[in-house]
């Protein structure tokens, strides 16, 4: 190697990762929650035996013709509206031609130059302030049909590949962003917020295990070097099957591109776009193909389908179906219910069901902070452990509010209240019934007095420590009070003992 190259390499080695801007764009495929496929009436239900949800249309039989599913179109428009997209007044269908065994027609019906949803945006923020709030611009969102599923023999004994066409023709909305994200964390936040919106407006179940939401990430680096900005070759990471995989693979890929650039100095002009896959087991991205080899899809308008016009009235009618989006709810919970941004986010992120649950509880118990704490901790813990959604939570909002009212009015102390809640969950009892079952009774003033006096009498050494200034030692007596009478309110016990001791 000559000295000029050597010195360039040395110069690159001196560049720190903090001089690098990570540039990320995402492509997300969302399966729309229609009953039937995009161009035929076959069911889109997940999990049926292979090739049982097919007909001559979705298997591409000779002579069969596609007919557009209007529900898919409406869900696509609804999504576009929620993502601030321009909605095309006229949209059309194009054929994307390529050969693959699970693509029965030899082309995919998609949208090329007139997507149903045009430019839009999605705002992201981190409740903990991990990054500055950012507006991620959307390039477009278009409708297309899904391909089938190939099942290859991986025993390497040369068995036949099998094809399941149940999924063929399922409606997908492909959402493409501009390269606006600047870190893997932002990419993850984008995906999280996008999914939340889609679930809020009910256009998709976004079940990643069942393939209802799939994402690919495009990433490269802009590096300040020698007085100019150098871009590294773009890499597309395919089939990221979880948001965690998306974040980790993009983090890994940014570092890999940086190391590679320091080693070889390759820029975007030297290398074509590359496709890499994420190996979850080894936590690395691996080379799949150079994009250069990819097919020429020979897009052209599908002559079997007519262009679709959408009127202002139709769009307005769809817009009316969209209730408040997550960002609006966060604001609402902060402003109307006085929650901290983080607490508001915890509730909103769990979906619309929990927002409604919270509002009902907060409104009825009159203390939104208490409601937020209990829901954010007790309720969410139960939901996470049980894997249930809020609509299956055993304690109705009214009952939860009843419980919290007693906490707010100090009729029930926190620890005991949690016991009551556990009992309500376990036995599906009302607050009163659970309290009665647990034998919880308010302790009257005289009894409390005698308990406190008894404790002081029985533990003079502790009383002395307290009187000598070690106030904290009162906790030991409070703990013992619970053994004498579990209903004794620790706060009241503490206050009374200190009073007795003249403090």
């Amino acid at each position: 190697m000559n000295s000029v190259n050597e010195s360039a390499k040395e110069a690159r080695a001196r560049v720190g990762f903090d001089q690098v801007t990570v540039v990320i764009g995402m492509e997300v495929h969302v399966q729309l929650a229609t009953q039937s496929k995009l161009f035929c009436s076959c069911s889109t239900q997940f999990g049926a035996p292979p090739n049982t949800q097919t007909c001559e249309v979705c298997t591409g039989m000779p002579g069969s013709l596609p007919v557009i599913n209007n529900q898919a179109l409406q869900l696509a428009i609804k999504t576009g509206l929620a993502l601030n997209c321009e909605i095309a007044r006229s949209t059309k269908w194009d054929r994307k031609n390529y050969f693959y065994p699970d693509l029965p027609k030899g082309y995919q019906i998609s949208q090329f130059d007139k997507p149903i949803c045009g430019k839009g945006y999605l705002d992201i923020a981190d409740a903990n302030g991990a990054f500055e709030p950012r507006r991620v611009r959307l390039e477009r969102a278009h409708l297309e049909e899904d391909a089938g599923k190939s099942i290859h023999d991986e025993s390497s004994r040369g068995g036949n590949s099998k094809i399941d066409l149940n999924r063929t023709g399922t409606p997908l909305l492909e959402i493409v962003t501009k390269p606006d994200m600047r870190s893997a964390a932002e990419a993850r936040a984008f995906l999280t917020e996008l999914k939340l919106i889609l679930v809020y407006i009910g256009v998709s179940d976004c079940n990643m295990q069942q393939g209802s939401l799939r994402c690919d990430g495009n990433i490269n680096l802009h590096i300040e070097f020698g007085g100019q900005t150098i871009a590294t070759p773009i890499v597309e990471i395919k089939n990221l099957n979880s948001f965690r995989a998306a974040e980790r693979s993009l983090t890994y890929e940014a570092r890999r591109q940086f190391d590679l650039w320091q080693q070889c100095g390759l820029t975007i002009d030297d290398s074509p776009k590359q496709t890499r896959g994420w190996n979850d087991a080894q936590q690395v991205t691996t080379m799949q193909r150079e994009k250069e080899e990819s097919a020429d899809y020979r897009y052209f308008p599908d002559p079997d389908l007519i262009a679709v016009s959408t009127s202002e009235e139709e769009i307005a009618a769809i817009e009316e179906q969209i209730d408040r989006l997550p960002a609006i709810w966060r604001e609402h919970l902060s402003e109307v219910y006085n929650l901290k941004p983080y607490d508001a986010d915890v509730i909103v992120s769990q979906g619309r069901g929990l927002v409604d649950y919270f509002r009902e509880v907060a409104d009825q118990c009159g203390d939104s902070r208490i409601a937020s704490n209990w829901i954010g901790q007790e309720v969410l813990r139960y939901l996470n452990e049980s894997g249930l959604e809020i609509d299956r939570y055993p304690v109705a909002p009214r009952q939860m509010a009843e419980l919290l009212k007693r906490v707010v009015s100090n009729q029930l102390e926190q620890t005991r209240a949690k016991e009551v809640l556990n009992e309500m969950v376990a036995s599906q009892l009302s607050v009163a019934a659970a309290i009665e079952k647990l034998g919880i009774k308010a302790v009257d003033h005289d009894e409390l007095k005698s308990i406190c006096q008894q404790l002081i009498d029985e533990h003079p050494e502790v009383a002395k420590q307290i009187q000598d200034g070690n106030i904290k030692a009162v906790g030991r007596l409070v703990g013992k009070a619970r053994k004498l009478n579990p209903n004794a309110n620790p706060g009241l016990v503490k206050d009374m003992i200190l009073k007795f001791l003249g403090i």
Binding site: E56, P62, G63, L65, P303, D304
Partner: protein
């Protein structure tokens, strides 16, 4: 009763009046097919349930139950149209064993009207051709002269009607595939308006041009069939929602006041003088019936064939991608996927089909799309505009169907361009989407039929059928049968 002299309308009347049973009718035509098919090769597959269907219909009629408007009428269907349970090959080795699990919409409508599908007719592979020489199942012969082609691609349908093997055949027309063989075989062939008849179940060649239509002896018979098969189909997004009149009702209306434009561009260089004089004679007949004629222009006609041979192969290259060896098709032996694709398509398609797939693939490729597909689409709009202008002045446009009479088998084998020019007068109607009909208008000195083409405004098939029927009321060309196949002597 001499069945051979009866057209579809007459057969239906006799069947309905009880002069003839469906069984006798079907048996007659099955026998004709058996006698004749070996020399003509018009059918590739005969239905083995036709007689059973005929018995059912007879029984139903005998018991006084209602029957459909075509009850007992035999119908031959081009093999590019899907028939449930009956092999449908599109003339290709690729689909040699393909038995559709469903009926094309028009087949369903014909069956619902109690018509009987008697068999499937031979065709150019995937309807690509103008001679029916390009079939995996061998060439079809012209009943008027066995060394001549019957035209194409619906050559089997045309030949079987001409040779009295079926009173009705269904064809499909992408650039002239109903009209040109009708012209070569001396029968009536109608290409309806694009969207008038559902394409569901028609194995696609070029989806924006393909249209199914009737091939019969007379315009009256075509009116009868069109009335049954036309109309909106929810399974075909491109099918029109226009009302469907009973086309048989307006046939007797006189031509007085009807304005017919003689298309100047259809009498240019390349037109056989014998064909020209025949068409000029026919024009006089129409004038004598009360029509007013004048010369009109369709100035973009010279670009029609070139436009067609970009648009059609582009769509075909995509439509035929599904024949990949993975499902229902022929599959060549191979050791890996790419080899399977290549070998299957190399061996499963004939040369003409492969040529058009390559043309279309090329024209759609990145960097060529604008220069070919997009440009052709623009010219197509100009051609359509020509028609809009012309139909502002006239009701019908008249000209020859084809520049020549039937050419010899093998004559254009090494010159595809000469073959493509056989469609020179017919492709424009497909590009513009307008309806057109070919009717027999004379016989050449060498004894071959000559066809006259009439074109009309979109959805005005009624005007075409009316003019054709009026012409046939005063001429006998449609009743003239090929000397070789005049039916059994009685």
């Amino acid at each position: 009763m001499e069945i051979s002299n009866l057209g579809a309308s007459e057969l239906v009347s006799h069947l309905s009046a009880g002069h003839l049973t469906a069984v006798d009718c079907i048996q007659y035509f099955l026998q004709r097919i058996e006698q004749t098919n070996q020399s003509l090769n018009a059918f590739v597959n005969i239905s083995d349930t036709a007689l059973q269907r005929a018995r059912e219909i007879d029984a139903r009629r005998a018991s006084g139950k209602p029957v459909g408007p075509l009850a007992g009428l035999p119908i031959a269907v081009k093999d590019g149209i899907c028939t449930s349970g009956l092999k449908t090959t599109a003339g290709s080795k690729m689909l040699e064993q393909f038995v559709p699990p469903y009926d094309a919409t028009i087949v369903r409508r014909l069956i619902d009207a109690d018509g009987i599908v008697i068999g499937k007719t031979n065709m150019d592979e995937f309807a690509m051709g103008s001679s029916t020489e390009h079939s995996h199942f061998g060439a079809v012969k012209n009943p008027w002269s066995l060394d001549r082609v019957p035209g194409g691609s619906s050559g089997g349908s045309a030949a079987c009607v001409a040779a009295d093997m079926s009173p009705v055949a269904i064809g499909s027309d992408t650039g002239g595939s109903i009209r040109q063989p009708a012209s070569f075989c001396g029968i009536t062939g109608l290409k309806p308006t694009y969207g008038r008849v559902s394409r569901y179940g028609l194995i696609a060649f070029a989806s924006s041009l393909d249209q199914i239509g009737p091939m019969t002896r007379t315009a009256k018979d075509s009116a009868l069939i069109l009335s049954v098969i036309a109309g909106h189909d929810v399974k075909d997004s491109t099918s029109a929602k226009n009302d469907v009149p009973d086309f048989t009702r307006s046939l007797e209306k006189p031509l007085t006041g009807v304005r017919i434009g003689i298309c100047r561009e259809h009498f240019d260089e390349g037109l056989d003088p014998e064909v020209e004089s025949c068409v000029r004679e026919a024009t006089k007949v129409l004038e004598s019936l009360g029509a007013a004629t004048c010369e009109i222009h369709l100035p973009h006609t010279p670009y029609a064939v070139a436009t067609y041979y970009v648009v059609a192969p582009c769509e075909a290259s995509s439509n035929l991608a599904r024949y990949d060896g993975v499902r229902y098709t022929y599959r060549a032996a191979a050791t890996d996927l790419e080899q399977m694709y290549c070998q299957t398509r190399a061996a499963g398609f004939g040369d003409e089909v492969k040529q058009r797939i390559m043309l279309g693939t090329y024209a759609l490729s990145s960097g060529y799309y604008d220069a070919f597909y997009l440009k052709a689409s623009r010219v197509r709009r100009m051609i359509k505009h020509d028609y809009d202008q012309a139909f502002g002045e006239v009701d019908l446009i008249l000209g020859p169907t084809s520049p020549t009479t039937a050419f010899s088998i093998g004559e254009h084998s090494h010159n595809p361009l000469a073959m493509y020019l056989a469609d020179i007068y017919t492709v424009s109607a497909n590009l513009a989407g307008v309806p057109a009909i070919s009717i027999p208008a004379g016989i050449s000195a060498s004894g071959l039929p000559i066809g006259l083409q009439l074109q009309a405004r979109s959805f005005d098939e009624g005007a075409l059928l009316q003019a054709a029927h009026q012409f046939q009321s005063v001429t006998g060309w449609h009743a003239t049968k090929p000397p070789l196949y005049q039916g059994p002597q009685t």
